[in-house]
Symmetry: C2
Subunit: 136 residues, 2 copies
């Protein structure tokens, strides 16, 4: 299941993306509009800033705003930052690879084989979907 962190993060990004101007929007405004706990959203936006797609400004008139065009923001990055690895097992992860302790041989492992397919299909979706595709 998708974590609320990711869910809220995506909603916040969408909210910023549909704004006409790229003026800073305070966290409080996003939180109210999307029914999210403000404090929780605070930490989520802080995390999202690491993608480099999001800028922030302190003080009056401050808030968060998109640095890049929504069409340049791929879901691969967003999902990895918020949700973590796209793969469902670490032994098929591209960015977070780790060998399974219990598994003697990856090549013959049925879990590995199945999850490789699932990863590829998910990756295909995330790579070909940008924030722009999510706003009607």
């Amino acid at each position: 299941m998708l974590s609320k962190k990711t869910k809220y993060g995506l909603k916040a990004l969408t909210f910023l993306a549909i704004q006409k101007e790229r003026n800073p929007i305070p966290i409080a405004e996003i939180a109210t509009h999307e029914n999210i706990s403000q404090k929780f959203l605070e930490s989520i936006l802080l995390t999202l800033r690491r993608t480099g797609y999001l800028g922030s400004k302190k003080g009056k008139g401050g808030g968060y705003y998109l640095i890049k065009d929504p069409s340049e923001i791929p879901m691969t990055t967003v999902m990895r930052v918020l949700e973590g690895p796209i793969a469902m097992v670490s032994c098929v992860s591209i960015n977070f690879y780790e060998k399974c302790e219990d598994c003697p041989d990856e090549q013959s492992c049925s879990v590995h084989k199945l999850m490789l397919k699932v990863r590829d299909s998910a990756l295909d979706v995330y790579r070909n979907t940008t924030l722009a595709d999510l706003i009607t």
Copy 2:
């Protein structure tokens, strides 16, 4: 991330599938061979029995065995029984649908839109992969 329950369940099914005969195999044997806690595997196999693909026999000479041919066991069923919904949010789930409390409109929700694509791509993999495809 895939739960260990699902991981172990898949490994157990694979182990049963590669047997030449369809004789009952005791849990202990599967557990030893696949590095799984026996008691944990017990409950997993019990769950898996609900799919109808798995039979069991008590007492001496007993154990678990496949009822159907591996090529007739699709991953959709296995994943749903072990891991739960294939969808990452309940509002795009086919078998476990539930409306999101916080979301006023599904049609315009960006999370809904993205997760619908992800569900379809995962479903495509699971529907077209049987247990037979996972054994080399």
